[in-house]
Symmetry: C2
Subunit: 197 residues, 2 copies
Amino acid sequence: MVNYPHHLIRKPDQPSSKSKSVNFANRGMSFETAINATNDYYLSRHLAVVHKKPTPIQIVKVDYPRRSRAKIVEAYFRQASTTDYSGVYKGRYLDFEAKETRQKSSMPMKNFHAHQIEHMENVLEQNGICFVLLHFSTLKETYFLPADALVAFYQIDQGTKSMPLDYIKKNGYMVTNGRLPQVPYLDIIDKIFLGGD
Amino acid sequence: MVNYPHHLIRKPDQPSSKSKSVNFANRGMSFETAINATNDYYLSRHLAVVHKKPTPIQIVKVDYPRRSRAKIVEAYFRQASTTDYSGVYKGRYLDFEAKETRQKSSMPMKNFHAHQIEHMENVLEQNGICFVLLHFSTLKETYFLPADALVAFYQIDQGTKSMPLDYIKKNGYMVTNGRLPQVPYLDIIDKIFLGGD
């Protein structure tokens, strides 16, 4: 049997068997960059249309210099009242937030604001597919946690400063990070929301 | 029969019978404001979750003055690559753009960029509910035009500078502007996308 150099013949969209060596973190990518790349991949393959919303900015002053475009000279960051990502997959509405921590056993709850939790509740009520992607950078592990589990934890343990990894493991799903797409969350949506479709 | 002062006893959510007198334009509202108010109404009544995306901004320089929050001191407007509004209604993904013109017989096509048309095509391919709301301020008429009709017009008549009102009437639906909600676009979605559900 001929010994093909597998790394040369492997198709670009085929996940590597050595997942550790292709983890986006090892390739110098932030979690957000990996998710954006995943969304670009899904869009280019016509699998889903998901975009990150622009950062909300409060514009205070704009200058109009001659012969050039409008220049914003005073503006401030506003707190997002919704989640960062939304889009469409097989007709269904997708809505999610992505958070990263260096902690090894919990996700700090300060990552989620009251307005965002409320938004998730509204989306769930409209039967949207809503979830959070939680990345533990030290562990190199990513979890898909359905929003109802996050909302439940938030409502029951409002005083709790962090959500234990055990809770996330019990109520969520591990995402096997790959090469392309880096964070294949649609696989989990197929399995848990669309009945393995 | 007692002559009740009807404007005092009418419930705030009840559409007025005199639609002309309650048109949002007559009340000094811009079309965008009327759509945002409509979305607020839908959200508060738990009918749909639809938000306007923040304006995309390219941030160049941020100052961090002492004892105050980050201040953006140089930034520029970027062209939107998607549509302005997206959300969820009965599990389905909604995606639309709203445009206003003072012209009486056509909508200038410069209102729609190539990236936005491409985005609409992607959304349609994923079976999202995609459309444009077109307001003719001089006529005080608003139309709901499904995105496939806009995309078809754009592709066939790329050289054409404006889309005739006749084409919009033939392929779209008039929205009866009301008091609350001001631009009741969900009625049309129920009728043409969800089978009168």
